[in-house]
Structures are given as C-alpha cells and as structure tokens.
Symmetry: C2
Subunit: 298 residues, 2 copies
C-alpha cells in the first residue's frame, strides 16, 4: 500500500521562545511524510526551486520518501517565515515567498495515478482539484487548506469538499469556512457540504472528529515540551491518514486509533524545530507514547 | 455525608448571542450547589442583601440547599453583569457591584464546622482562609479563585494553596498565577506550591488534572447547544467535588469518574441561562449523558 501527498516542500525560518532557525526543511508535504512514512510508502508531489539544498533531498530519500514527482523548477523554493509567542498556539506569519509554488502544476507518473490513498495538503484548491482529477480510483481522500484559500478561493474549496472523504482543518479554519463559532456546528456545516468525515485540529486542545455515525473528541498528549509547533497539523494528518491507509474498514475503532496515532505523531513534532524530532521517529516510539497517552486519557 | 461551599450568591445580568437576562439567580456557590446537590447535602455559606428576592430563597430551599449560613445583610446583593460574544469562551465583565460582599464575614454553625468536605469558591482569599481556619477537620478542600485576587492578593492566595487538597483554576488563571504559558508547566508550578492536586478547566476544551501520581486530560462533552456558559466552572467543580465527597479513596479511578461528572454537569449548565437547566437536573440525566460521553471520548 502507498499514499500520495500533494503539498509544499518549503524552507522555513522560525522564531520561538526557544530559539531561531533559518531555512529549515519544512512544508506541509514534508511534515505529513515524516509521520505517514511510518505506516506506508509516501509519494510526495511538490515543487522546489534550484536553490533547494541537495542535503534536504538526500535526507528525504534516506527517509524512503518517494520523490518521483518532486519537481525542481527554475526559481526559488517556497519560503515561510514565522514566529510563535506566548503559549505557542498561534503562528504569526512574518513573510511568505511563493517562488516556484506560484506556477506549480503537479505531474505524476502513470503508476502513481493508481494510488488509492490521497492527501491534498495545503496548496491552492485549484491545484488540489487538478491532481485529484488525475487519480484513477481514489478510495480515501484527505483535504487540508488554510485561511488564505478560504478567503480567496472559497467557492473552489467548497466544491472540492464534495469530492473528498475527509476534510481536515484547524479550529480557526473550520470557523472561518463555516461561519460558525461553535466547533460542533462548524463540523456539521462542513459535513453537510460533502466530506464523509470532518477532522478539526485544535492544537494543544486536541482534535474533534465528526461523521454521520459518531462524534469523537480526543485531547492532545499532555506535554510541557513545546519547542516549535510548525508542521504539527500536517504531522497529525500524516499519522492519521497513514494508519487509515493500512486498515480495511473506516469504522469507529480504526478511526479512533488513527486519531491517536495522529495525536502522538504531532506530540513528537512539537518537541523540536522543524523535522528534527520526527526525522528519527520509529513505530516503536509511537507505540510507547501511545501506551502512556492511553493512561492519560482513558 | 455533606459538603460546605463558601462563595457568592449573586444577581447576574447576562447577554449572549441567544438572549439577554437580568438579575438572574447566580453566583459561584449557587452554581456549585446545583450540581453538588445531586451527590450530597450542600451547606451554602454566603451573603445576600435585603434586595434579594424571596423566590430565589424559596428555590434554593426547594433544591434542598442548606441555607443555615446564608446571611442576609443590610445593603445590596452582589451583582455581576457580563456579555459573551463569538465562541462564548470568554466573558466580558461589564459591571460588578460588590454590595454586601465587600464586608462579608462567614459565620457557620458548630455542626457545620465538623464537615470534612469543603469548597472555597471564588471570593477574597482572606475570607476563604477565615472559613477554612474555622473548620475542625478538613479532609478534602477545594479552592477556586479568579484573576482579580491573583493580581491583587497573590501572596494571600499562594499561602492558601498550601492548605488545600485541590486547586481549581481555569486556564487563564493558571497561567496568570504560575507565569507559565504551557498548562502542564503551570500545573506543575501550582502543584509545587502546595495542593496535592491541580485541576485546570479549559471551557470548551475540557479539563486537565495534575497530581504526583498521574496527569489526566479530559475533553468537554461535544455540544452545539451553548446558550450561556456563566457558572459552568462552578457547576463542574460541584459535580467533581460532589462525587469525591462520596468516595472512600482519592485514587485514579475515582478522580477520573469525578472529572467525568464535573464535565457532564457543566455541559448541562451551558445549555440554558443561569441555573435554568441545572435546576431540574437529576442523577439520571447525568448518568444518561455520561453514557453518551463515554462513547465520544473512549
């Protein structure tokens, strides 16, 4: 089994109360891949510029991420610069340079078109649709987005909702897209517009899952070791989708377990800058913490 | 078994997106009592003014709240006026009139001094200490406070922490008192300063429990029926302390169950204005929703 993830490969510059890092390997597809790879083969669909360091490519290869559809184009790699203050719950974006991302068109191989499990991480919804249309037989499709697209391409995003299995959003995005403050109302609104499942990520407050069959609320792993939350949401999605791509049925038990894997994967991500922690993560680490987590929430 | 609660009996005026209410029965001791009464006899220690409506007294009596130590004094009842907007997570205080509360000294009967279970709801920490010193054999002491006392009577509150079993705070208060943004760090700080247990209430995000033996994170009951959150924290504390006052051991199992009762009691409180919902709550209602809750979080 394998999964295909469309998203960004970025160079992130981050400031948190615990330090400053410049041009780290980041991006939604990379963070997703760091946790999903523990469950399945990850096919990355993204674009980088000519300035992208070879060592990052070597690193991704070493982590067994399949880079067939990682395109290198003339120009600069997508860069994000942000800062976290106080409780580290919200990033302040200081600068965004789209670079080669602004003209990105995904190109995938014929064999990749047959992959059944797809995650459309945060990029322009028109690009997400473009990729999805190329897939032969989507079975499980996850969709993520962000405030920028909700504000600027709402109708494109809303129509894309109808074509996906699960819409993944953070609490702010869910509220913004649904115009509902209460998260259950927000989840119901989003559910009515297409996806079979809605997953709302709430950072340190955990995650809320909504489907016709059941609602589920899972707290985050309680930790005081928060260094850099960048990519936590994508890492969560990677664990969640990675696990679901391996199971036969999308039933309650499997979904709860997938949520737990997502939660645990994200709890590792925030402990260090960028992918510093998740790069060396093993299934054994996940299982060990999952055991501790169960004692904290069950 | 019985419990004694020191706190406020108030006339609350509240505006939420769902309506406006004026001079409703409210106050920390009242909201606490509405849920604690389902588990044990509740002795209320508070003060009201001559303007306090007789119908509210009749109502409290009807609910079997023991009013022996509810003092009526010359002057006006404590009044709070507030508004909730948006996601209803935070109240904006528009007006506070202390009235008779400003000169309140609790007076309790000799038989009440023997009560072993005590909840010091939010009033001046000096008054909380005054009552606690009068108790003959405290076995389980809960303490709540608020931003105002944390800012203005910090040292009094900190010394009181050493005398209580469990300190109950909302996330803002825990951060303010500990000067820690991370809630686990905040809980650890508070724990180091005296109480055996720390309970941090996070509103719609649930509650975090901290002790030497274990950390526990419980989500809120997922609901889209939020009308007025006033008193939710006290209702939580009432369910939590009420259940604990009945059990023999403060072990992990009982504490988790107490947290669940607090969570469920609070989920009813927010569904209607003031005590409109909790006034008619039965143990059966709690148990039924607890059953649903377990399916949403386990």
């Amino acid at each position: 089994m394998s999964i295909i993830v469309l998203g960004t490969v970025a160079l992130d510059s981050v400031k948190t109360p615990f330090g400053i890092r410049k041009d780290m390997l980041g991006g939604s597809a990379v963070h997703f891949g760091m946790s999903a790879r523990l469950f399945t083969d990850v096919n990355l669909v993204a674009v980088i510029g000519k300035d992208f360091p070879q060592r990052h490519i070597d690193f991704l290869k070493e982590k067994k991420i399949i880079l067939t559809s990682l395109i290198m184009k003339e120009g600069k790699t997508f860069r994000w610069k942000g800062e976290y203050r106080g409780d580290l719950n919200t990033a302040v974006t200081l600068n965004t340079q789209l670079g080669v991302l602004s003209t990105f068109r995904p190109a995938i191989s014929e064999s990749q078109r047959k992959i059944k499990h797809i995650f459309l991480a945060n990029v322009d919804p028109d690009i997400q649709r473009y990729l999805l249309q190329r897939m032969h037989s989507p079975a499980l499709v996850g969709l993520d987005s962000m405030n920028y697209w909700i504000n600027n391409k709402r109708s494109s995003l809303m129509s894309l909702l109808k074509q996906v299995t699960i819409y993944v959003a953070n609490d702010q995005e869910a509220r913004l897209l649904s115009c509902e403050n209460n998260l259950i109302k927000a989840a119901k609104f989003l559910y009515r517009h297409g996806p079979k499942m809605v997953l709302i990520k709430k950072g340190e407050h955990g995650a809320l899952f909504f489907s016709k069959e059941f609602i589920f609320s899972m707290p985050a792993f309680p930790t005081d070791k928060v260094t850099d939350p960048t990519g936590a949401g994508d890492t969560f999605a990677g664990g969640f989708m990675g696990y679901l791509s391996k199971v036969k049925k999308l039933n309650e038990e499997n979904i709860k377990r997938a949520l737990a894997y997502g939660t645990i994967a994200a709890s590792f991500n925030i402990e260090d800058f960028g992918v510093d922690k998740t790069a060396n993560l093993t299934m054994r680490d996940l299982e060990n913490r999952l055991y501790k987590f169960r004692k904290c929430v069950l």
